[in-house]
């Protein structure tokens, strides 16, 4: 098959989009099916809920996409959410600052994001300086940071959660009429990531390093700095997701990210970013997030338990990996 054959432009465009994002038709079909057959799905209340559920997942998945584009993985993101959540809640509810929300809220937000940056930086250093695979480095920080979160919560409050957060903070979680706030934040961060990856020098470098670090190094790309930066971005985004998720739950808890890692990695992979590095992007991750959240939401409404959802997600990851393998093989045959 000749990859350069001339077809009608529209047909070509559709084929191009389908090849690039096979998840798109699946998302549309699932949405229509859910709207028709799942009770209470197509209600204003639930659609609001759907968007809110997508918001923090989108942020954390965008961050992870940067790492996966480099052929790496970041296991620590959900732990960052846990630690950020309890430390942020402590600042807003229990610390001496708690009396003045006008101070405690911004401080808490900065600290939550700061925790993400710090963990990302440690991950990045382990990968770049100690030459650890990101798999190992972030698995270690995942355990350490989660342990810290649980320990911190039980030390300051005696339980695993901290409540009594200031009302104003809940705006960030989409409380009441502010429901668009987290959605707008998530969308802005997604847009920013997309811009970063497709338009800037940094983005071009992420893809180049993801495909071939040696070629990149010889071409003068600061490979280590690039990898370090994207690990930090992943941490930072997890910190922001933590702010929104904590505000939505209205409580700081060390179990915040518990079930999120699976949905996050599923969003990135099912969206179509290759785990081998260098191919994909946050545009795909957006679709992945919308699809996975849809699935979660619909199955919840149908009363399907979490373990069944887990099985489904696992199956989807395999299915999408297979699809991308088959598409790649076809690409290879064309070559």
């Amino acid at each position: 098959m000749d990859p350069n054959r001339v077809d009608t432009p529209l047909k070509n465009k559709i084929i191009g989009v389908l090849r690039d994002m096979p998840i798109l038709p699946l998302l549309i079909i699932s949405f229509v099916l859910a709207a028709c057959f799942v009770p209470h799905f197509f209600t204003l209340y639930n659609l609001k809920n759907y968007l809110l559920q997508s918001a923090d997942l989108l942020i954390i998945s965008c961050g992870l996409t940067f790492v996966v584009l480099n052929g790496g993985i970041d296991f620590s993101v959900t732990s960052v959410m846990a630690l950020g959540s309890v430390v942020g809640a402590y600042i807003m509810a229990l610390s001496p600052l708690a009396a003045t929300p006008a101070v405690s809220i911004p401080v808490a937000i900065l600290v939550m994001m700061g925790i993400g940056v710090l963990v990302g930086f440690v991950n990045g250093l382990s990968v770049v300086k100690l030459k650890m695979p990101s798999f190992v480095a972030t698995l270690a920080t995942q355990l350490i940071v989660l342990g810290l979160a649980v320990q911190f919560a039980s030390t300051v409050s005696g339980t695993s959660s901290i409540s009594g957060l200031p009302e104003a903070f809940f705006i960030l979680g989409g409380e009441g009429k502010f429901f668009l706030v987290p959605v707008v934040i998530a969308f802005s961060m997604w847009l920013f990531s997309h811009w970063l990856l497709t338009r800037t020098l940094f983005g071009k470098r992420v893809y180049a390093v993801g495909v071939n670090p040696l070629t990149s190094f010889i071409s003068g790309i600061p490979v280590k700095k690039t990898i370090l930066t994207l690990m930090v971005i992943s941490g930072l985004f997890a910190g922001v997701a933590c702010v929104i998720a904590t505000a939505r739950n209205q409580v700081g808890m060390s179990s915040l990210g518990d079930k999120m890692f699976l949905t996050t990695i599923a969003s990135v992979i099912v969206g179509g970013t290759s785990t081998a590095g260098g191919f994909g992007g946050v545009n795909k991750t957006l679709l992945g997030v919308l699809f996975i959240t849809l699935l979660n939401n619909a199955m919840n409404l149908l009363g399907v338990g979490w373990y069944i959802i887990m099985i489904t997600l696992g199956g989807l990851i395999i299915a999408s990996a297979m699809t991308s393998y088959l598409l790649n093989r076809q690409r290879g045959n064309n070559a």
Binding site: P3, N4, R199, T200, L201, F202, K204, Y207, A208, V211, N212, L214, T215, S216, F217, I218, S219, G220, I221, P222, G278, F279, R331, N334, A335
Partner: protein, 503 residues
């Protein structure tokens, strides 16, 4: 009926080509029983290809082979081993993380009656083997702990254990000490005394003269001469190895060599492959670098471009001395490095041509927000494609790996030329490139020099260097052992320096 005087291995009309390039042109070749046959030739003469065919690593395109009078057509290395052909590779073929015993039996562990590996039996037979060949090891010593020479002995023992009738040695002495080398030669003597035939491939003519009974010279995939060792003089052998007709055409581009030294290496050392190298690259000059495999040319290039660290010495670029370099500094100083392995080091094979072309220049095509100015990038891309005549229909979508070798190499040139560097280090720039594209690449190189760039051209083809360079330096064992100016270029002299220059 076969008799003792018949050749053990008889190769007739063996042909082989890779991606349309004929590498072996119908070879005929005999190996007698109990003889040591030397196989010599320049890099790329076809020695390794021939031996890989004999060893079952590569299939031949046409021709026949007979082993002890029977048809021999090995489909795999295992197949060759079973027929008694053992290959002692240049990079030894042992598992360094396993023990001597495990390595000896790796392709067929003896089993006990429950189907499990019979460790007692392995240990017993390994012990036997160790005694028989008086190896200074224990059965459970890990290979990692052994020196190169002893590893080689283990590999030889492994071959004999499989009842080898023919042993092929490919550059066996490169990683050996002087004493280990003597031991190896003694082992070869013993093998010959046992009636085993040996094919000995080496660049080190001294060794070839010492151990071989006969010598076969290979050049450009053809056998040039086979004679008893005593009938060859070293001079004559070298003459056979080169003696190539200058049939290839090179572009004639008038250019002038300037006065300014753009780059100077002063006593640069790194590892065991780069020892005290000093050289100068002058504007408008194309300097050739010849050397045999493993002479350290690529290592030197990597050190000069900051890919590998410099341990001693300094490199002066545009009169600014550097003790430590990295590729980014070199690029900022106006250098370019076309690597030997364009697939692994030069290109993003699975990415479109456009993305590859922009790799180096990109930091200079940004607006003040760090955003890539795509129109300007497109303009640069189109200019490079036009200037270098890269054959690509849709550079924004067509992947680099869909292009021919020549066009791929032109993308690598394009990526560098776009940044307008003044100093070029080219490591085998025409490897895997067809003849037509070669001519174009020579033209590109000559034009770069004409525009005042300094070029260091590393190549294994003497002919190519003579055709394009103003001066040729020769490396051997990590040192520069000689230099030859354009007026006095002589293939034999250059090869002689590469083979036996004082180092």
């Amino acid at each position: 009926m076969t008799t003792l005087s018949d050749p053990l291995l008889k190769i007739s009309q063996v042909r082989k080509s890779f991606t349309g390039v004929q590498v072996l042109h119908g070879l005929n070749f005999d190996l007698k029983r109990g003889e040591v046959l030397g196989l010599v030739g320049e890099n790329g003469a076809g020695k390794s290809t021939l031996m890989n065919i004999v060893g079952g690593v590569l299939p031949m395109d046409s021709g026949t082979m007979e082993l002890a009078g029977e048809s021999y057509l090995p489909l795999s290395p295992l197949c060759a081993t079973e027929r008694g052909v053992a290959f002692v590779h240049q990079e030894l073929n042992l598992f360094t993380n396993l023990s001597v015993a495990e390595n000896l039996f790796i392709d067929g562990f003896p089993k006990n009656r429950f189907g499990a590996i019979d460790r007692k039996e392995i240990s017993r037979r390994t012990r036997e083997c160790i005694d028989q060949f008086s190896l200074p090891v224990e059965p459970d010593t890990e290979i990692e702990a052994l020196s190169a020479g002893i590893r080689q002995m283990v590999e030889i023992a492994k071959g004999l254990l499989k009842n080898a009738r023919i042993m092929i040695f490919d550059e066996p002495t490169t990683s050996l000490s002087k004493r280990e080398k003597e031991d190896l030669f003694k082992n070869i003597e013993d093998l010959r005394a046992k009636g085993i035939s040996i094919i000995y491939i080496s660049h080190i003519l001294e060794d070839v003269f010492r151990v071989c009974d006969r010598i076969t010279v290979l050049r450009d995939g053809r056998i040039i001469e086979t004679k008893a060792t005593s009938k060859f003089s070293e001079k004559e052998l070298i003459k056979c190895m080169v003696g190539r007709e200058m049939t290839q055409v090179f572009p004639t581009i008038q250019k002038e060599i300037g006065k300014t030294v753009l780059l100077e290496a002063k006593n640069v050392s790194s590892g065991s492959r780069v020892k005290g190298i000093s050289l100068q690259l002058i504007e408008g000059e194309i300097v050739g670098m010849y050397g045999l495999m493993g002479a350290g040319r690529t290592d030197l290039a990597q050190v000069m471009f900051g890919v590998e660290p410099m341990e001693e010495g300094e490199i002066v670029i545009h009169s600014c001395p550097h003790k430590r370099l990295n590729p980014r500094m070199c690029i900022n100083e106006g250098m370019a490095f076309i690597t030997e392995d364009r697939r692994q080091e030069g290109l993003l094979m699975t990415k479109p041509v456009g993305e590859n072309l922009g790799l180096v220049k990109l930091p200079h095509l940004l607006n003040r927000f760090g955003v890539v100015k795509s129109e300007e990038l497109d303009r640069e891309n189109r200019k490079a494609i036009e200037d270098l005549r890269i054959k690509v229909t849709d550079y924004q979508h067509q992947l680099a790996n869909t292009l021919s070798g020549g066009n791929q190499q032109k993308i690598v040139f394009g990526k560098w030329v776009m940044n307008r560097p003044k100093i070029f280090i080219l490591d085998e720039p025409t490897r895997g490139v067809d003849v037509g594209a070669k001519f174009e690449i020579y033209s590109i190189i000559a034009n770069l020099a004409k525009q005042g760039s300094a070029v260091l051209l590393i190549s294994s083809e003497i002919e190519e260097l003579i055709g394009t360079c103003d001066r040729i330096m020769v490396m051997r064992n990590g040192r520069i052992v000689g230099q030859s100016l354009k007026a006095e270029f002589d293939q034999e002299k250059i090869l002689e320096m590469a083979l036996q220059g004082e180092s």
